[in-house]
Protein backbone atom coordinates (compact mmCIF):
# COMPACT_ATOMS: atom_id res chain seq x y z
CA UNK A 1 0.00 0.00 0.00
CA UNK A 2 1.18 3.50 -0.81
CA UNK A 3 2.58 5.70 1.92
CA UNK A 4 0.01 7.96 3.59
CA UNK A 5 -0.15 11.48 2.16
CA UNK A 6 -0.28 12.92 5.68
CA UNK A 7 1.34 11.27 8.68
CA UNK A 8 1.19 13.04 12.02
CA UNK A 9 2.99 11.92 15.17
CA UNK A 10 2.29 13.61 18.49
CA UNK A 11 1.76 16.97 16.85
CA UNK A 12 1.09 19.68 19.41
CA UNK A 13 0.65 23.44 19.51
CA UNK A 14 0.65 25.60 22.60
CA UNK A 15 -0.06 29.34 22.58
CA UNK A 16 0.64 31.90 25.25
CA UNK A 17 -2.79 32.89 26.50
CA UNK A 18 -3.87 35.76 28.70
CA UNK A 19 -1.52 36.32 31.62
CA UNK A 20 0.64 33.30 32.24
CA UNK A 21 -1.96 30.83 31.05
CA UNK A 22 -0.87 28.49 28.31
CA UNK A 23 -3.51 27.45 25.81
CA UNK A 24 -3.07 23.91 24.54
CA UNK A 25 -4.73 24.29 21.17
CA UNK A 26 -3.62 20.89 19.86
CA UNK A 27 -2.56 18.10 22.23
CA UNK A 28 -0.31 15.45 20.71
CA UNK A 29 -2.47 14.35 17.81
CA UNK A 30 -1.64 11.17 15.86
CA UNK A 31 -3.20 10.69 12.45
CA UNK A 32 -2.70 9.20 9.01
CA UNK A 33 -4.53 10.26 5.87
CA UNK A 34 -4.36 8.08 2.75
CA UNK A 35 -4.10 9.25 -0.85
CA UNK A 36 -7.47 9.76 -2.50
CA UNK A 37 -9.48 10.31 0.66
CA UNK A 38 -11.81 13.12 1.56
CA UNK A 39 -10.84 13.43 5.18
CA UNK A 40 -12.68 15.66 7.62
CA UNK A 41 -11.79 17.15 10.98
CA UNK A 42 -15.09 17.66 12.75
CA UNK A 43 -15.50 19.64 15.92
CA UNK A 44 -16.79 22.83 17.49
CA UNK A 45 -15.05 26.19 17.13
CA UNK A 46 -11.92 26.30 19.25
CA UNK A 47 -11.44 22.52 19.19
CA UNK A 48 -8.09 22.85 17.41
CA UNK A 49 -9.17 21.96 13.85
CA UNK A 50 -7.90 25.11 12.21
CA UNK A 51 -4.69 25.14 14.24
CA UNK A 52 -3.98 21.56 13.13
CA UNK A 53 -4.63 22.45 9.50
CA UNK A 54 -2.51 25.59 9.66
CA UNK A 55 0.41 23.57 11.00
CA UNK A 56 0.05 21.03 8.17
CA UNK A 57 -0.04 23.89 5.62
CA UNK A 58 3.26 25.31 6.95
CA UNK A 59 1.55 28.49 8.16
CA UNK A 60 2.18 27.75 11.81
CA UNK A 61 5.23 26.15 13.41
CA UNK A 62 4.30 23.22 15.70
CA UNK A 63 5.40 23.37 19.33
CA UNK A 64 6.36 19.69 19.24
CA UNK A 65 5.79 16.49 17.31
CA UNK A 66 6.48 15.36 13.76
CA UNK A 67 4.58 15.26 10.53
CA UNK A 68 5.12 14.46 6.88
CA UNK A 69 2.89 16.01 4.25
CA UNK A 70 2.99 14.75 0.63
CA UNK A 71 6.09 12.82 1.67
CA UNK A 72 8.05 15.82 2.95
CA UNK A 73 9.02 16.69 6.49
CA UNK A 74 6.99 19.51 7.96
CA UNK A 75 9.81 21.14 9.89
CA UNK A 76 12.65 20.85 7.40
CA UNK A 77 10.98 20.78 3.96
CA UNK A 78 8.22 23.38 4.24
CA UNK A 79 9.00 24.82 0.83
CA UNK A 80 8.62 21.43 -0.88
CA UNK A 81 5.30 20.91 0.86
CA UNK A 82 4.04 24.32 -0.31
CA UNK A 83 4.68 23.29 -3.91
CA UNK A 84 2.52 20.16 -3.58
CA UNK A 85 -0.44 21.37 -1.58
CA UNK A 86 -3.33 23.77 -2.11
CA UNK A 87 -5.02 25.66 0.67
CA UNK A 88 -8.25 27.60 0.93
CA UNK A 89 -8.48 29.42 4.24
CA UNK A 90 -11.64 30.61 5.94
CA UNK A 91 -11.07 34.14 4.72
CA UNK A 92 -10.20 33.20 1.15
CA UNK A 93 -7.45 35.68 0.50
CA UNK A 94 -8.45 37.54 -2.67
CA UNK A 95 -7.20 41.09 -3.12
CA UNK A 96 -10.41 43.13 -3.12
CA UNK A 97 -9.51 45.82 -5.63
CA UNK A 98 -8.09 43.34 -8.14
CA UNK A 99 -10.20 41.13 -10.40
CA UNK A 100 -10.55 37.42 -9.86
CA UNK A 101 -8.42 36.74 -12.91
CA UNK A 102 -5.65 39.06 -11.69
CA UNK A 103 -5.65 37.35 -8.32
CA UNK A 104 -5.31 33.94 -9.96
CA UNK A 105 -2.49 35.27 -12.15
CA UNK A 106 -0.49 36.45 -9.14
CA UNK A 107 -0.98 33.15 -7.33
CA UNK A 108 -0.08 31.11 -10.43
CA UNK A 109 3.11 33.06 -10.98
CA UNK A 110 4.12 32.67 -7.36
CA UNK A 111 3.88 28.91 -8.00
CA UNK A 112 6.60 29.55 -10.58
CA UNK A 113 4.37 29.12 -13.62
CA UNK A 114 5.32 31.04 -16.74
CA UNK A 115 2.85 33.71 -17.80
CA UNK A 116 1.69 31.65 -20.79
CA UNK A 117 1.20 28.50 -18.71
CA UNK A 118 -0.60 30.51 -16.06
CA UNK A 119 -2.96 32.05 -18.63
CA UNK A 120 -3.79 28.64 -20.03
CA UNK A 121 -4.40 27.17 -16.59
CA UNK A 122 -6.58 30.12 -15.52
CA UNK A 123 -8.67 30.02 -18.73
CA UNK A 124 -9.16 26.32 -18.14
CA UNK A 125 -10.27 26.82 -14.52
CA UNK A 126 -12.56 29.72 -15.41
CA UNK A 127 -14.24 27.60 -18.03
CA UNK A 128 -14.46 24.44 -15.95
CA UNK A 129 -15.81 26.18 -12.86
CA UNK A 130 -18.07 28.47 -14.90
CA UNK A 131 -16.52 31.70 -13.62
CA UNK A 132 -16.42 33.63 -16.90
CA UNK A 133 -19.33 35.97 -16.10
CA UNK A 134 -17.51 37.62 -13.19
CA UNK A 135 -13.83 36.73 -13.61
CA UNK A 136 -12.96 40.24 -14.81
CA UNK A 137 -14.80 42.13 -12.09
CA UNK A 138 -13.13 43.27 -8.86
CA UNK A 139 -13.52 40.58 -6.22
CA UNK A 140 -15.02 43.17 -3.84
CA UNK A 141 -18.21 42.91 -5.92
CA UNK A 142 -18.50 39.12 -5.62
CA UNK A 143 -21.21 37.34 -3.66
CA UNK A 144 -20.11 34.94 -0.92
CA UNK A 145 -20.69 31.96 -3.20
CA UNK A 146 -18.83 33.46 -6.17
CA UNK A 147 -15.89 34.31 -3.94
CA UNK A 148 -15.75 30.81 -2.51
CA UNK A 149 -15.63 29.18 -5.93
CA UNK A 150 -12.86 31.57 -6.93
CA UNK A 151 -11.02 30.68 -3.71
CA UNK A 152 -11.32 27.04 -4.74
CA UNK A 153 -9.93 27.84 -8.19
CA UNK A 154 -7.00 29.60 -6.53
CA UNK A 155 -6.51 26.64 -4.20
CA UNK A 156 -6.02 24.23 -7.11
CA UNK A 157 -4.14 26.60 -9.43
CA UNK A 158 -0.92 24.61 -8.94
CA UNK A 159 -2.69 21.25 -9.45
CA UNK A 160 -1.94 20.11 -5.90
CA UNK A 161 -2.10 16.44 -4.96
CA UNK A 162 -3.48 17.45 -1.56
CA UNK A 163 -6.00 20.24 -1.01
CA UNK A 164 -6.71 21.74 2.42
CA UNK A 165 -10.10 23.40 2.92
CA UNK A 166 -10.75 25.27 6.15
CA UNK A 167 -14.52 25.40 6.76
CA UNK A 168 -15.23 25.48 3.02
CA UNK A 169 -18.98 26.13 3.27
CA UNK A 170 -19.28 28.22 6.41
CA UNK A 171 -21.43 31.30 5.90
CA UNK A 172 -22.75 30.24 2.49
CA UNK A 173 -26.36 29.98 1.40
CA UNK A 174 -27.63 26.41 0.84
CA UNK A 175 -27.31 26.66 -2.93
CA UNK A 176 -23.66 27.78 -2.86
CA UNK A 177 -22.98 25.20 -0.20
CA UNK A 178 -24.23 22.43 -2.47
CA UNK A 179 -22.19 23.87 -5.33
CA UNK A 180 -18.97 23.93 -3.30
CA UNK A 181 -19.57 20.36 -2.14
CA UNK A 182 -20.09 19.08 -5.64
CA UNK A 183 -16.90 20.83 -6.82
CA UNK A 184 -15.00 19.27 -3.93
CA UNK A 185 -16.32 15.85 -4.90
CA UNK A 186 -15.37 16.46 -8.53
CA UNK A 187 -11.82 17.44 -7.56
CA UNK A 188 -11.56 14.32 -5.46
CA UNK A 189 -12.72 12.16 -8.38
CA UNK A 190 -9.94 13.67 -10.48
CA UNK A 191 -7.47 12.36 -7.91
CA UNK A 192 -6.97 15.19 -5.45
CA UNK A 193 -6.84 14.16 -1.80
CA UNK A 194 -8.99 16.50 0.29
CA UNK A 195 -8.41 17.43 3.92
CA UNK A 196 -11.11 19.66 5.33
CA UNK A 197 -12.38 21.02 8.60
CA UNK A 198 -16.02 21.57 9.35
CA UNK A 199 -18.39 22.04 12.20
CA UNK A 200 -21.33 20.93 10.09
CA UNK A 201 -22.22 17.35 10.89
CA UNK A 202 -24.18 16.76 7.72
CA UNK A 203 -21.23 18.05 5.74
CA UNK A 204 -18.84 15.57 7.31
CA UNK A 205 -21.48 12.89 6.89
CA UNK A 206 -22.22 13.66 3.26
CA UNK A 207 -18.75 14.49 1.99
CA UNK A 208 -16.08 12.62 3.93
CA UNK A 209 -14.82 9.05 3.60
CA UNK A 210 -13.32 9.34 7.06
CA UNK A 211 -13.80 11.72 9.92
CA UNK A 212 -11.80 12.56 13.01
CA UNK A 213 -13.89 14.07 15.75
CA UNK A 214 -11.87 16.70 17.57
CA UNK A 215 -12.64 18.16 20.96
CA UNK A 216 -10.42 20.37 23.10
CA UNK A 217 -7.30 19.73 21.05
CA UNK A 218 -7.67 15.94 20.94
CA UNK A 219 -9.03 13.39 18.51
CA UNK A 220 -11.80 11.60 20.35
CA UNK A 221 -12.95 9.33 17.53
CA UNK A 222 -11.76 8.33 14.08
CA UNK A 223 -13.46 6.37 11.32
CA UNK A 224 -15.97 6.50 8.49
CA UNK A 225 -19.18 8.34 9.34
CA UNK A 226 -21.03 5.00 9.13
CA UNK A 227 -18.56 3.27 11.49
CA UNK A 228 -18.73 6.10 13.96
CA UNK A 229 -22.49 5.97 13.99
CA UNK A 230 -22.34 2.20 14.56
CA UNK A 231 -20.61 2.91 17.88
CA UNK A 232 -24.05 3.84 19.01
CA UNK A 233 -26.09 0.68 18.88
CA UNK A 234 -29.75 0.87 18.02
CA UNK A 235 -31.83 4.02 18.07
CA UNK A 236 -32.10 7.18 20.06
CA UNK A 237 -35.22 8.45 21.75
CA UNK A 238 -35.07 12.08 22.75
CA UNK A 239 -37.51 13.28 25.40
CA UNK A 240 -38.05 17.00 25.86
CA UNK A 241 -39.08 18.46 29.23
CA UNK A 242 -39.98 21.88 30.52
CA UNK A 243 -37.55 21.93 33.40
CA UNK A 244 -34.35 20.21 34.47
CA UNK A 245 -35.99 18.63 37.52
CA UNK A 246 -38.25 16.59 35.27
CA UNK A 247 -35.27 15.52 33.19
CA UNK A 248 -33.59 14.22 36.33
CA UNK A 249 -36.67 12.38 37.51
CA UNK A 250 -37.22 10.78 34.12
CA UNK A 251 -33.55 9.88 33.90
CA UNK A 252 -33.61 7.92 37.16
CA UNK A 253 -36.84 6.20 36.14
CA UNK A 254 -35.34 5.11 32.84
CA UNK A 255 -32.04 3.91 34.27
CA UNK A 256 -34.05 1.32 36.18
CA UNK A 257 -35.50 -0.31 33.06
CA UNK A 258 -33.98 -3.04 30.91
CA UNK A 259 -35.16 -1.35 27.72
CA UNK A 260 -32.66 1.45 27.94
CA UNK A 261 -28.99 0.72 27.26
CA UNK A 262 -27.76 4.15 28.24
CA UNK A 263 -29.07 7.59 29.13
CA UNK A 264 -27.54 10.97 28.53
CA UNK A 265 -28.79 14.40 29.65
CA UNK A 266 -28.40 17.48 27.52
CA UNK A 267 -30.04 20.73 28.45
CA UNK A 268 -33.77 20.28 28.82
CA UNK A 269 -33.80 16.88 27.19
CA UNK A 270 -32.99 13.28 27.89
CA UNK A 271 -31.40 10.99 25.30
CA UNK A 272 -32.18 7.30 25.61
CA UNK A 273 -30.11 4.78 23.68
CA UNK A 274 -32.32 1.75 22.96
CA UNK A 275 -32.09 -1.41 20.89
CA UNK A 276 -35.32 -1.11 18.92
CA UNK A 277 -36.89 2.29 19.14
CA UNK A 278 -40.19 1.26 17.62
CA UNK A 279 -40.69 -1.40 20.29
CA UNK A 280 -39.28 0.54 23.22
CA UNK A 281 -41.16 3.78 22.70
CA UNK A 282 -44.69 2.67 23.74
CA UNK A 283 -43.28 0.92 26.84
CA UNK A 284 -41.24 3.98 27.81
CA UNK A 285 -44.25 6.25 27.42
CA UNK A 286 -46.30 3.87 29.60
CA UNK A 287 -43.71 3.93 32.41
CA UNK A 288 -43.36 7.70 32.33
CA UNK A 289 -47.12 8.19 32.18
CA UNK A 290 -47.66 6.02 35.24
CA UNK A 291 -45.11 8.06 37.17
CA UNK A 292 -46.76 11.34 36.06
CA UNK A 293 -43.56 12.26 34.21
CA UNK A 294 -44.84 12.34 30.63
CA UNK A 295 -42.49 14.35 28.43
CA UNK A 296 -43.49 17.42 26.47
CA UNK A 297 -41.94 16.19 23.20
CA UNK A 298 -40.73 12.85 21.90
CA UNK A 299 -38.35 12.22 19.05
CA UNK A 300 -37.17 8.90 17.68
CA UNK A 301 -34.09 8.91 15.47
CA UNK A 302 -31.25 6.92 14.00
CA UNK A 303 -27.92 8.02 15.51
CA UNK A 304 -26.30 11.06 13.85
CA UNK A 305 -22.70 12.23 14.19
CA UNK A 306 -24.00 14.72 16.74
CA UNK A 307 -25.02 11.79 18.91
CA UNK A 308 -21.57 10.29 18.49
CA UNK A 309 -20.10 13.61 19.51
CA UNK A 310 -22.40 13.85 22.51
CA UNK A 311 -21.63 10.32 23.63
CA UNK A 312 -17.87 10.76 23.33
CA UNK A 313 -17.46 14.20 24.81
CA UNK A 314 -20.43 14.54 27.12
CA UNK A 315 -21.59 17.69 25.34
CA UNK A 316 -23.39 18.20 22.08
CA UNK A 317 -21.71 19.91 19.17
CA UNK A 318 -24.17 22.80 19.14
CA UNK A 319 -23.77 23.24 22.90
CA UNK A 320 -19.99 23.35 22.67
CA UNK A 321 -20.39 25.95 19.97
CA UNK A 322 -22.34 28.38 22.12
CA UNK A 323 -19.97 27.85 25.04
CA UNK A 324 -17.09 29.30 23.03
Amino acid sequence: MAAPIIRIEKLAKRFAGRGKKIVEAVREINLEVEKGEIFGLLGPNGAGKTTTMRMLCTLLVPTSGKATVTGFDLTTQAREIRRHIGYVGQKGGMEQVATGRENLMLHAQLYRMSKADAERRIDDLIERLDLASFADRKTATYSGGQRRIFDLASGVINMPELLFLDEPTTGLDPQSRARVRSEVRALNEQGTTIFLTTHYLEEADALCNRVAIVDRGKIVALGSPADLKKQIAGDIITLGFDDEGDVGAASSLMQGTELVIETQRADGSLHLYVDRGDHALPEIMRILGQAQQAPKTVHLSRPSLDDVFLKLTGHSLSEAETAE
Binding site: L60, G89, E95, Q96, R112
Partner: protein
Protein backbone atom coordinates in the same frame (compact mmCIF):
# COMPACT_ATOMS: atom_id res chain seq x y z
CA UNK B 1 13.56 33.30 -8.09
CA UNK B 2 13.77 35.74 -5.24
CA UNK B 3 14.07 38.65 -7.65
CA UNK B 4 11.14 37.43 -9.72
CA UNK B 5 9.01 36.99 -6.58
CA UNK B 6 9.95 40.46 -5.36
CA UNK B 7 9.03 41.89 -8.74
CA UNK B 8 5.67 40.08 -8.75
CA UNK B 9 4.75 41.24 -5.25
CA UNK B 10 5.90 44.76 -6.01
CA UNK B 11 4.03 45.19 -9.30
CA UNK B 12 0.89 43.72 -7.78
CA UNK B 13 1.13 46.16 -4.87
CA UNK B 14 1.68 49.13 -7.13
CA UNK B 15 -1.29 48.18 -9.27
CA UNK B 16 -3.51 47.81 -6.22
CA UNK B 17 -2.24 50.97 -4.55
CA UNK B 18 -2.85 53.19 -7.54
CA UNK B 19 -6.38 51.88 -7.92
CA UNK B 20 -7.28 53.33 -4.55
CA UNK B 21 -8.00 57.04 -5.11
CA UNK B 22 -7.82 57.64 -1.37
CA UNK B 23 -4.09 57.02 -1.58
CA UNK B 24 -3.54 60.26 -3.48
CA UNK B 25 -5.36 62.22 -0.82
CA UNK B 26 -3.80 60.60 2.19
CA UNK B 27 -0.32 60.28 0.75
CA UNK B 28 0.18 63.55 -1.06
CA UNK B 29 -2.25 66.12 0.19
CA UNK B 30 -1.43 65.83 3.88
CA UNK B 31 2.21 66.96 3.71
CA UNK B 32 1.31 69.68 1.27
CA UNK B 33 -1.31 71.02 3.67
CA UNK B 34 1.36 71.14 6.36
CA UNK B 35 3.56 73.14 4.06
CA UNK B 36 0.83 75.55 3.03
CA UNK B 37 -0.83 76.09 6.40
CA UNK B 38 1.94 75.52 8.94
CA UNK B 39 4.82 77.04 6.96
CA UNK B 40 3.47 80.62 7.01
CA UNK B 41 2.90 80.33 10.76
CA UNK B 42 6.62 79.88 11.16
CA UNK B 43 7.38 83.13 9.34
CA UNK B 44 6.59 85.06 12.50
CA UNK B 45 8.62 82.70 14.66
CA UNK B 46 11.65 82.92 12.37
CA UNK B 47 12.20 86.47 13.53
CA UNK B 48 12.34 85.37 17.19
CA UNK B 49 15.66 85.49 18.98
CA UNK B 50 17.61 82.22 18.91
CA UNK B 51 15.85 80.86 15.81
CA UNK B 52 18.50 79.09 13.77
CA UNK B 53 17.46 80.35 10.37
CA UNK B 54 16.22 83.70 9.20
CA UNK B 55 14.12 82.07 6.50
CA UNK B 56 11.24 79.91 7.71
CA UNK B 57 10.95 77.79 4.56
CA UNK B 58 14.68 76.91 4.64
CA UNK B 59 14.15 75.78 8.21
CA UNK B 60 10.83 74.04 7.77
CA UNK B 61 10.99 72.29 4.37
CA UNK B 62 13.88 69.87 5.18
CA UNK B 63 12.21 68.99 8.47
CA UNK B 64 8.91 68.45 6.71
CA UNK B 65 10.54 65.94 4.36
CA UNK B 66 11.78 63.96 7.36
CA UNK B 67 8.43 64.26 9.07
CA UNK B 68 6.70 62.97 5.98
CA UNK B 69 9.05 59.98 5.88
CA UNK B 70 8.35 59.29 9.56
CA UNK B 71 4.58 59.51 9.14
CA UNK B 72 4.04 58.05 5.71
CA UNK B 73 6.22 55.00 6.31
CA UNK B 74 5.27 54.83 9.98
CA UNK B 75 1.65 54.08 9.13
CA UNK B 76 2.05 51.56 6.28
CA UNK B 77 1.28 48.75 8.72
CA UNK B 78 -2.43 49.45 8.41
CA UNK B 79 -2.43 48.31 4.79
CA UNK B 80 -0.68 45.08 5.81
CA UNK B 81 -3.22 44.55 8.54
CA UNK B 82 -5.97 44.71 5.90
CA UNK B 83 -4.10 42.04 3.97
CA UNK B 84 -3.92 39.86 7.06
CA UNK B 85 -7.60 40.47 7.77
CA UNK B 86 -8.83 39.38 4.33
CA UNK B 87 -6.51 36.36 4.25
CA UNK B 88 -4.41 37.75 1.39
CA UNK B 89 -1.10 37.42 3.23
CA UNK B 90 -1.97 33.89 4.33
CA UNK B 91 -2.82 32.96 0.74
CA UNK B 92 0.63 34.15 -0.36
CA UNK B 93 2.37 32.43 2.53
CA UNK B 94 1.13 28.99 1.48
CA UNK B 95 2.69 29.44 -1.96
CA UNK B 96 6.41 28.74 -2.32
CA UNK B 97 7.05 32.51 -2.51
CA UNK B 98 10.30 33.59 -0.91
CA UNK B 99 9.59 35.23 2.46
CA UNK B 100 12.36 37.74 1.81
CA UNK B 101 10.68 38.67 -1.48
CA UNK B 102 7.36 39.05 0.28
CA UNK B 103 8.88 41.53 2.72
CA UNK B 104 11.05 43.30 0.12
CA UNK B 105 8.15 43.74 -2.31
CA UNK B 106 6.13 45.60 0.30
CA UNK B 107 9.12 47.66 1.45
CA UNK B 108 9.99 48.67 -2.11
CA UNK B 109 6.46 49.88 -2.80
CA UNK B 110 6.42 51.93 0.39
CA UNK B 111 9.76 53.43 -0.71
CA UNK B 112 8.35 54.36 -4.10
CA UNK B 113 5.36 56.03 -2.46
CA UNK B 114 7.70 57.94 -0.18
CA UNK B 115 9.78 59.15 -3.13
CA UNK B 116 6.67 60.42 -4.94
CA UNK B 117 5.48 62.26 -1.85
CA UNK B 118 8.90 63.77 -1.20
CA UNK B 119 9.09 64.96 -4.81
CA UNK B 120 5.68 66.61 -4.57
CA UNK B 121 6.68 68.30 -1.31
CA UNK B 122 9.87 69.69 -2.78
CA UNK B 123 8.00 71.03 -5.82
CA UNK B 124 5.58 72.81 -3.54
CA UNK B 125 8.32 74.17 -1.32
CA UNK B 126 10.08 75.57 -4.41
CA UNK B 127 6.98 77.71 -4.98
CA UNK B 128 7.40 79.01 -1.44
CA UNK B 129 10.95 80.06 -2.25
CA UNK B 130 12.96 77.03 -1.10
CA UNK B 131 16.55 76.89 -2.37
CA UNK B 132 18.67 73.79 -1.99
CA UNK B 133 22.04 72.36 -2.91
CA UNK B 134 21.79 69.66 -5.63
CA UNK B 135 24.38 67.24 -4.19
CA UNK B 136 23.08 67.72 -0.71
CA UNK B 137 19.55 67.12 -2.04
CA UNK B 138 20.58 63.82 -3.66
CA UNK B 139 22.16 62.64 -0.42
CA UNK B 140 18.98 63.66 1.37
CA UNK B 141 16.99 61.35 -0.91
CA UNK B 142 19.16 58.45 0.28
CA UNK B 143 18.65 59.43 3.90
CA UNK B 144 14.87 59.65 3.38
CA UNK B 145 14.86 56.16 1.87
CA UNK B 146 16.80 54.76 4.84
CA UNK B 147 14.28 56.36 7.19
CA UNK B 148 11.44 55.00 5.08
CA UNK B 149 12.81 51.44 5.22
CA UNK B 150 13.30 51.72 8.99
CA UNK B 151 9.82 53.03 9.69
CA UNK B 152 8.00 50.83 7.18
CA UNK B 153 9.70 47.69 8.54
CA UNK B 154 8.79 48.74 12.07
CA UNK B 155 5.18 49.46 11.14
CA UNK B 156 4.79 46.23 9.15
CA UNK B 157 6.25 44.22 12.03
CA UNK B 158 3.91 45.89 14.51
CA UNK B 159 1.01 45.11 12.20
CA UNK B 160 1.92 41.40 12.25
CA UNK B 161 2.26 41.44 16.03
CA UNK B 162 -0.80 43.46 17.05
CA UNK B 163 -3.45 42.08 14.67
CA UNK B 164 -6.09 44.56 15.88
CA UNK B 165 -6.42 47.93 14.14
CA UNK B 166 -7.09 49.85 17.35
CA UNK B 167 -4.01 48.47 19.06
CA UNK B 168 -1.80 49.25 16.08
CA UNK B 169 -3.08 52.85 15.95
CA UNK B 170 -2.37 53.30 19.64
CA UNK B 171 1.12 51.83 19.51
CA UNK B 172 2.01 53.76 16.35
CA UNK B 173 0.88 57.12 17.72
CA UNK B 174 2.65 56.56 21.03
CA UNK B 175 5.81 55.83 19.08
CA UNK B 176 5.62 58.38 16.30
CA UNK B 177 4.44 61.54 18.09
CA UNK B 178 7.29 61.83 20.63
CA UNK B 179 9.78 61.00 17.88
CA UNK B 180 8.31 63.84 15.82
CA UNK B 181 8.12 66.51 18.51
CA UNK B 182 11.60 65.79 19.91
CA UNK B 183 13.09 65.86 16.43
CA UNK B 184 12.69 69.63 16.27
CA UNK B 185 10.74 69.64 13.00
CA UNK B 186 8.10 72.05 14.24
CA UNK B 187 10.17 74.21 16.55
CA UNK B 188 13.89 74.11 17.37
CA UNK B 189 14.59 71.84 20.34
CA UNK B 190 17.04 74.49 21.57
CA UNK B 191 13.97 76.50 22.62
CA UNK B 192 13.11 73.83 25.20
CA UNK B 193 14.24 73.18 28.81
CA UNK B 194 17.33 70.99 29.47
CA UNK B 195 15.24 67.85 30.09
CA UNK B 196 13.60 68.08 26.66
CA UNK B 197 16.97 68.76 25.06
CA UNK B 198 18.41 65.69 26.74
CA UNK B 199 15.51 63.54 25.60
CA UNK B 200 15.81 64.89 22.08
CA UNK B 201 19.39 63.70 21.99
CA UNK B 202 18.23 60.04 21.99
CA UNK B 203 15.70 60.68 19.22
CA UNK B 204 17.28 59.49 15.96
CA UNK B 205 15.04 61.91 14.08
CA UNK B 206 16.76 64.90 15.69
CA UNK B 207 19.89 63.89 13.81
CA UNK B 208 17.89 63.25 10.66
CA UNK B 209 16.27 66.69 10.75
CA UNK B 210 19.58 68.43 11.45
CA UNK B 211 21.22 66.45 8.66
CA UNK B 212 18.40 67.34 6.27
CA UNK B 213 18.82 71.05 6.98
CA UNK B 214 22.58 70.82 6.56
CA UNK B 215 22.27 68.86 3.30
CA UNK B 216 19.77 71.26 1.77
CA UNK B 217 21.97 74.21 2.57
CA UNK B 218 24.92 72.40 0.98
CA UNK B 219 26.85 71.78 4.22
CA UNK B 220 27.51 68.16 3.27
CA UNK B 221 30.35 67.81 5.74
CA UNK B 222 28.31 68.95 8.75
CA UNK B 223 28.72 66.54 11.72
CA UNK B 224 24.97 65.83 11.72
CA UNK B 225 25.18 64.21 8.26
CA UNK B 226 27.39 61.18 8.99
CA UNK B 227 25.65 60.75 12.35
CA UNK B 228 22.23 60.52 10.68
CA UNK B 229 23.48 58.17 7.95
CA UNK B 230 25.12 55.78 10.40
CA UNK B 231 22.09 55.74 12.70
CA UNK B 232 19.57 55.05 9.95
CA UNK B 233 21.77 52.65 8.01
CA UNK B 234 22.00 50.49 11.13
CA UNK B 235 18.33 50.90 12.09
CA UNK B 236 17.08 50.11 8.59
CA UNK B 237 19.11 46.87 8.38
CA UNK B 238 18.02 45.76 11.85
CA UNK B 239 14.33 46.53 11.37
CA UNK B 240 14.24 44.98 7.92
CA UNK B 241 15.74 41.78 9.34
CA UNK B 242 13.13 41.79 12.10
CA UNK B 243 10.36 42.27 9.53
CA UNK B 244 11.59 39.42 7.32
CA UNK B 245 11.71 37.20 10.38
CA UNK B 246 8.14 38.21 11.14
CA UNK B 247 7.09 37.22 7.63
CA UNK B 248 8.65 33.78 8.15
CA UNK B 249 6.78 33.08 11.35
CA UNK B 250 3.74 35.34 11.09
CA UNK B 251 1.09 34.15 13.51
CA UNK B 252 -1.72 35.98 11.80
Amino acid sequence: MMLRDTYLIMTNEIKVTFRNPFWIFHGLVQPVIYLVLFGPLLNGVAEARGFPSANAIQFFAPGLLIMNALFSAGFVGFSLQDKVECGFLERLRVTPVSRIALAMGLILVSSIELLCQSGALVLCALLFGLRFDVWGGLLLVVLILLIGITMASTSFTLALLTREGGVLAGVTNTLVLPLLILSGVMLPVTFGPPLIQALARVDPFLYAVNAARALMSGAILDAAVPAAFVIFAVLSVVMLAVFIRGMREAVA
